[in-house]
């Protein structure tokens, strides 16, 4: 079957100014993301994974190069269009969940869906992440795993084209991490959402359809995984 290209990243680079130092975070990255795919971007910290993810998600613009969504060049978007892109096409999941501390679990999800035209039913989404009975709790009353599930619900409920996850298991223990990975896997397979995970945990690559390896801001390898294994069987 012919795979449809969802996103195309072309010779993208990114430099940051941190105080008085310029950091070369991403160098000349090129690859495609196909619709419905599960991609793992692997690499040690500082390898440029997050920068790449931010550029894909319209959180940041490349200093050089082009980024296309279904042929549309998003790096040429103005701020308003970029905001709309983030709102309608992308769902983010962060390592530290980044929930609004003064909103309950359900309100955190609503915060995201209020802006979207094609949002999913919040209660159903909350049920699907198994938080139906915890939805009125504030983040401080939830465990790390629960918080991450709220964050996933928040990303999914917007009904985006793809989920971009930045070290989603990075702050969790092994068991909770596996649960989160299963959830992401389920969303990918059942809801047909494209999922891009970045992680320094090589083992997670085993469940992805494709693995992109990075080092020092460069893509060093792009590998197809012919037989991805279910997350329950991953060990680290």
């Amino acid at each position: 079957m012919q795979k449809k290209i969802l996103m195309k990243i072309e010779n993208s680079s990114k430099d940051y100014k941190m105080g008085e130092v310029t950091v070369n975070a991403l160098c000349d990255a090129s690859f495609e993301i196909y619709e419905g795919e599960f991609i793992a971007i692997l690499g040690p910290s500082g390898s440029g994974k997050s920068t790449l993810l931010n550029i894909i998600g319209g959180m940041d613009l490349p200093t050089q190069g082009k980024v296309f969504l279904r042929g549309d060049e998003i790096n040429k978007y103005n701020d308003r269009k970029l905001t709309a892109y983030r709102r309608d096409k992308v769902g983010f999941v962060f390592q530290f969940y980044n929930l609004m501390a003064n909103l309950t679990a359900k309100e955190n999800v609503e915060l995201a869906t209020e802006m979207c035209k094609e949002a999913l039913n919040i209660d159903e989404v909350m049920e699907s992440v198994e938080l139906g009975d915890r939805k009125d709790h504030f983040p401080s009353q939830l465990s790390g795993g629960e918080q991450q599930r709220v964050a996933i619900a928040r990303a999914v409920a917007k009904n985006p084209l793809m989920l971009l996850c930045d070290e989603p298991t990075g702050a969790l223990d092994y068991k909770t991490g596996l649960l989160i990975l299963s959830l992401l896997h389920k969303i990918n397979r059942q809801l047909k959402k494209t999922v891009v995970i970045i992680t320094h945990n090589m083992a997670i690559g085993d469940m992805a359809d494709r693995i992109i390896k990075m080092r020092s801001g460069r893509i060093v390898e792009i590998k197809e995984n012919a037989s991805p294994i279910p997350p329950e069987r991953i060990e680290w």
């Binding site: 941190m18 105080g19 008085e20 997050s50 920068t51 931010n54 998600g57 959180m59 940041d60 701020d79 308003r80 905001t83 709309a84 892109y85 983030r86 709102r87 309608d88 992308v90 983010f92 962060f94 530290f96 980044n98 609004m100 501390a101 003064n102 909103l103 309100e107 955190n108 609503e110 915060l111 995201a112 209020e114 802006m115 979207c116 928040r154 917007k158 930045d166």
Partner: protein, 784 residues
């Protein structure tokens, strides 16, 4: 409700201490605005209403004598609506306490009560007298002296004591402010009163049979008042017009207007100051919140919220403060407007024409608050726009560290203790915020200096006028012009250290089209009682000819030293004369012109005639001269001083009240900025604690910063306060009073002490926050 708004509400709840303290400032601003705006409008309406129902005279003409029949001539003048004559003379009143000197103005009213300046009593206008031996007493005076209907008063007229029964008590629109003359600084209703007598009585005892010495005139609404005056002057020339007083220059009305202007000024200046301070705090607060929310802002943007929505989320916080404060303040202002309006009308002795809430003020109040809050919100939260979602996920890059300019002065810097080095660096780290805080605090300091200045000004106004510029103990006024020989008689009668003749007579001074009626006083050239100080603080001596005028007159006539002005005599048969302004001198109470007595006699009066004397004496002249004919008044500087002191005591209360305003502002600024500072620098303090600093050290560091700020604010505040005082001098000075622009170091020191005290109180209020900070927790969490 939208979830961002839910978040906003919870944000408010989370920072309720600060939210409330800023809300209170906004509320105070709005309360003052609404309260005083509504009160001043109510008062203006009440005054207008009162003037209308009592048919107040548009012109009061004082003349030597005018026969009743001549009034009809006036009636026919174009623009004149109504005319009424009266006899008006000040006499002494005999009271129980022998030493006490009370003066009463006897004013005649027609038998039917008259149609102009009608008396008012309990919703009733136009009161009539019972018979020729009864009087109607002015209410303020009756109250102050506890005189009731049926009581008898004993005025001394030409040496003879009359007994007059009080048949009624009423108030009058021409004595809303009961003051004897321009030289009296404030009402003293127990020392000076007004009684209305029958025409027949007044005319007979004062020798005005069939005639009057004052004429009241009302004009047609569309008439040009100055044209009417010109026409009246021509018609009345032969009757010896002394003075024509327009309603706007009438003493009571003038003081009342000043009071109303004062209330109006209060209603605009104070709220703007309070709102400015609130705006400073809000913008600092928001910049802190935005900084803290950096990651949350990033998440919001990642979720697809645009800059406009995120920015307005934070501006809404500022608006929430504004609206909460506005609602509270408007409510308070509206609640207080009724009682305060009523209090003022009782104080002014006028009927209240109803308390109306003018909704326009509420609208403007809310609009003004929203403007202030939106601008401060924008200033504080504008950084939201610059936050890129991807950047916000990373810890903020440390600010580029640089040596401050002070550090370049190595010799100095080497000797600064470490803890002070941190203080200096902290201050210079956020210069803009520091500047704002200093400005706000300087404003609070400035507000403190103004009431202290007012106290000084009032005090020195009196001391300068009667200790420096005029040194007599008494001024004695005669019934009419007397031959100079009277001085010899007086010298025989009383023991005096020094006695000087004086002529005091009203004249109209004119230059081009500008004119002003003032008392021109003639004194000997080598006078020992009068000292004239010019605007450059030099002593000037009266020349042979020419005239000295006060600064206020010079301004009104637009006259400079050397200019020629016209002195227009009201005395029948005397021509106008031209004379040179030979000096402009300082005088704070009343507006007078001075001339050499000889040239004044020559030019304006008959030779060797004087109207009074100035005396330096130890004895109680008032007592000794009370039975002497030809003397209409003995004014004692001592009496005035005592009345003045009472007034100053009253003022101290008001001063305390005003200083509280400055205090509230200073407190709010320091309290909020300290709380914000503490929460911003938790990490830094935690690190210090781990390094071995204890709570006291950390608290000491914050204190030092605040005191450095306070010190600089006071330095900045000195010129600011001086400026505010200058504004006060300009807005409060009028024809009859000029506030001296004196800057006493004591008041600035007192204001500084008050400011420092408020800083200390605010500082103490934050003590608990510092001591309760969990430093270890602060170190653990980097994520908000």
């Amino acid at each position: 409700m939208r979830k961002l708004d839910v978040r906003l509400l919870r944000m408010v709840r989370h920072s309720k201490g600060q939210f409330v303290s800023v809300t209170v400032i906004v509320a105070v601003a709005l309360c003052i605005y609404i309260l005083f705006s509504i009160t001043s409008t109510n008062l203006r309406n009440s005054v207008d209403y009162y003037y209308k129902i009592t048919n107040i005279s548009d012109l009061t003409i004082q003349l030597v004598k005018i026969p009743q029949g001549a009034l009809d001539n006036l009636q026919s003048i174009e623009g004149v609506r109504d005319v009424q004559g009266r006899v008006c003379v000040d006499v002494a009143l005999e009271v129980e306490e022998e030493k006490e000197r009370v003066k009463i103005r006897l004013i005649s009213i027609p038998d039917n009560g008259g149609s102009i300046n009608k008396l008012y009593s309990e919703q009733k206008v136009s009161m009539k007298l019972e018979d020729n031996s009864s009087v109607i007493l002015l209410e303020q005076f009756a109250k102050a002296r506890n005189i009731k209907i049926g009581d008898v008063i004993y005025p001394r007229i030409n040496g003879r004591i009359h007994s007059l029964k009080v048949s009624g008590i009423a108030s009058s629109s021409e004595f809303v402010y009961l003051m004897e003359n321009e030289q009296s600084l404030m009402p003293a209703p127990e020392k000076f009163g007004v009684a209305y007598t029958s025409e027949a009585f007044a005319q007979s005892v004062f020798g005005y049979r069939g005639s009057y010495n004052e004429v009241l005139v009302t004009t047609e609404t569309d008439a040009d008042i100055d044209d009417v005056i010109d026409r009246i002057e021509q018609k009345l020339d032969k009757y010896g017009v002394k003075k024509i007083i327009k309603l706007e220059d009438q003493l009571s009305n003038d003081v009342l207007e000043q009071e109303l202007d004062g209330i109006e000024m209060l209603s605009s200046v104070l709220p703007v100051m309070f709102l400015t301070v609130a705006a400073i705090i809000i913008s600092i607060m928001l910049s802190r919140i935005v900084n803290n929310d950096r990651m949350a802002i990033g998440v919001l943007k990642a979720l697809g919220y645009g800059n406009r929505i995120v920015l307005s989320h934070y501006i809404k916080y500022a608006l929430a403060i504004g609206l909460a404060g506005a609602i509270l303040g408007i409510w308070g202002g509206m609640m207080l407007a009724g009682p305060i309006s009523r209090y003022y009308t009782v104080f002014f002795n006028i009927p209240l024409a109803g308390v109306k809430i003018q909704y326009g003020y509420i609208f403007y109040g809310i609009l003004l608050t929203c403007m202030f809050c939106t601008v401060s919100g924008l200033l504080g939260a504008r950084r939201v726009i610059r936050i890129m979602p991807a950047d916000s996920m990373r810890p903020e890059a440390p600010k580029s560290g640089k040596r401050t300019f002070i550090e370049k002065v190595t010799f100095f810097w080497k000797h600064v203790p470490f803890s002070w080095k941190m203080v200096i660096r902290n201050i210079l780290r956020n210069k803009k915020r520091f500047a704002f805080l200093v400005l706000g605090l300087a404003m609070a300091y400035g507000i403190n200096t103004v009431p202290l200045y007012m106290k000084d000004a009032m005090m020195s106004m009196f001391e300068l006028q009667y200790g420096e510029y005029q040194k007599m103990d008494y001024t004695i006024q005669f019934n009419g012009p007397q031959n100079e020989r009277i001085i010899v008689d007086l010298n025989n009668l009383i023991e005096v250290r020094r006695i000087e003749p004086r002529i005091e007579y009203p004249f109209e001074l004119a230059k081009d089209w500008r004119k002003m009626t003032v008392s021109v006083i003639g004194v000997p050239r080598q006078t020992a009682f009068h000292k004239f100080i010019d605007m450059k603080d030099n002593v000037i001596i009266l020349p042979e000819s020419g005239i000295f005028i006060t600064e206020a007159i010079a301004e009104k006539l637009n006259a400079k030293k050397g200019d020629t002005i016209t002195i227009k005599s009201f005395i029948p048969g005397k021509d106008d004369i031209e004379t040179k302004v030979t000096g402009i001198f300082k005088q704070y109470l009343g507006a007078n012109a001075y001339m050499n007595i000889e040239s004044m006699e020559e030019l304006l009066l008959e030779e060797q005639l004087i109207t009074g004397v100035s005396v330096a004496a130890q004895a109680d002249l008032k007592d000794e001269l009370k039975d002497v004919a030809n003397i209409s008044a003995v004014n004692s500087v001592d009496d005035m001083y005592r009345a003045y002191e009472e007034y100053i005591d009253l003022m101290l209360l008001a001063i305390g009240f005003y200083m509280l305003f400055g205090g509230v502002l200073g407190f709010a600024l320091i309290y909020n900025s300290t709380i914000i500072g503490i929460s911003e620098r938790t990490m830094e303090f935690a690190t210090l604690r781990i390094m071995g600093f204890d709570r006291k050290d950390v608290y000491g560091m914050i204190c030092r910063e605040n005191f450095v700020m306070g010190g600089i604010a006071i330095i900045v505040g000195i010129p600011l306060g001086a400026g505010m005082i200058k504004g006060m001098v300009e807005s409060f000075s009028s024809d009859i009073m000029t506030l001296p622009y004196i800057l006493k170091p004591e008041s600035f020191i007192q204001a500084a002490a008050a400011t420092i005290m408020f800083v200390i109180i605010a500082q103490l209020a934050t003590l608990r926050k510092v001591y309760n900070l969990n430093f270890i927790d602060a170190l653990k969490s980097r994520i908000s």
